[in-house]
Point group: C2
Chain length 237, copies 2
């Protein structure tokens, strides 16, 4: 808000010549903490300690915590396997990308917090953007539509997964007690919406993972169908 934001990626990283810390190790340690304990567990102090360094040593490599987050977020984008456009049809590329992004987000739930707060402007994010772009060029999109189509698929996946992970974080998949509790809570909360409640009950019979996958698939197909419709319309002109 107040301070001028400056991307970590804008200046050369401080080199890690000697046996010093270096960005690579810092990011790796940060990801380990995030994977093990979640977003709020990552503090500069804890990260420093994990690296066997003073808490404030990190400020040599990074201007502030936001920049650390930028590095970690790009590390996340690096984990998302994105097929080369030349190897498959655009629908296949986008479907695979969508599923991979979704999977990587579930595997690293802290990603949602960062995506919602930190711009994705690192090299790994750009690499993905460019692959999607090439895929849409191949499909026949042109001009600004390339960028728009790419954004649409991306947005759909993020919008699907972000709130779902928020929900999972609240009602942790850990305890069985919780699951019992949810149903009771839902009954109480959704009173007054009998149809909604009925649908919720229908869903509950299913494996929740299956239900989520079904919802994701439904929407992804919608988005791709919509893109294909636009492609046909453009070809007809």
């Amino acid at each position: 808000m107040s301070k001028q934001f400056s991307s970590v990626f804008i200046r050369e990283p401080r080199p890690a010549k000697t046996g010093g810390l270096g960005r690579a190790q810092i990011v790796q340690a940060a990801v380990e903490i995030l994977d093990a304990e979640g977003t709020q567990a990552l503090s500069m102090r804890k990260l420093g300690a994990k690296l066997g360094a003073g808490a404030t040593s990190l400020y040599w490599y990074v201007a502030n915590k936001d920049q650390l987050h930028e590095l970690v977020l790009d590390e996340f984008w690096g984990m998302v396997d994105t097929p080369e456009p030349e190897d498959a049809s655009w629908r296949e590329v986008l479907t695979t990308f969508g599923y991979n992004l979704r999977e990587t987000m579930y595997a690293h739930p802290w990603s949602t917090d960062l995506i919602g707060r930190i711009p994705s402007m690192g090299p790994n994010a750009f690499r993905i953007t460019d692959r999607l772009r090439r895929s849409f060029v191949q499909a026949g999109f042109s001009g600004i539509d390339i960028y728009l189509a790419s954004g649409t698929v991306m947005c759909y996946v993020l919008g699907q997964v972000i709130p779902d992970i928020a929900f999972s974080k609240a009602y942790g998949a850990d305890q069985l007690d919780a699951k019992v509790g949810i149903d009771e809570q839902m009954d109480q909360l959704a009173a007054g919406y009998p149809e909604m409640l009925a649908e919720y009950r229908d869903q509950i019979c299913m494996d929740p993972d299956v239900a989520r996958a079904m919802a994701f698939d439904f929407g992804l197909i919608c988005v791709l169908d919509g893109l294909e419709a636009r492609l046909r319309k453009a070809r007809r002109l």
Copy 2:
């Protein structure tokens, strides 16, 4: 992560008989702080001070900060104007809803932080869910598809706006200096992706608000077209 989550909405709020605080005033004050200073400025201490009360008085009305966030988030959903399904076609209802949700999010950028961390299970959220549901029933969707279609539109909007607001927060729309800085940074960051950079430059000529609106519109139409295709397919059976 560690603690069992329990929704604020599960138990009756403590009544505000006398001239005490009461949830309504607490939420209102919290929204004022969020609107004025952003997510990270909202602390229990500051909120208490604003209400002329001790910092810890709030814990009488709310178990913890997450529950305060739950209340505030539902207040946000209450701000999203959702048309009654009876008044228009399903495409109109969904388009209007999409645009209104988007607008409300931009007007209250803190919403993205909460949507990414707090489940939306308050009465206002449910009211919206039910209206969308009825709209899709009217459109001709049935069974689980009602829920899936609704989720698809919702997800698209969230996915579009959340990362965009993250970007805006970083490069605050405040200073002119920043805008100059962005271009230079982009040149440096996107080196190696000449086509991407060219597209970025094309976009820069436009008013950024117009560009954003265009991207949003493009995707929303895709999603609705995809839903309509599915509707036609279902009717044919």
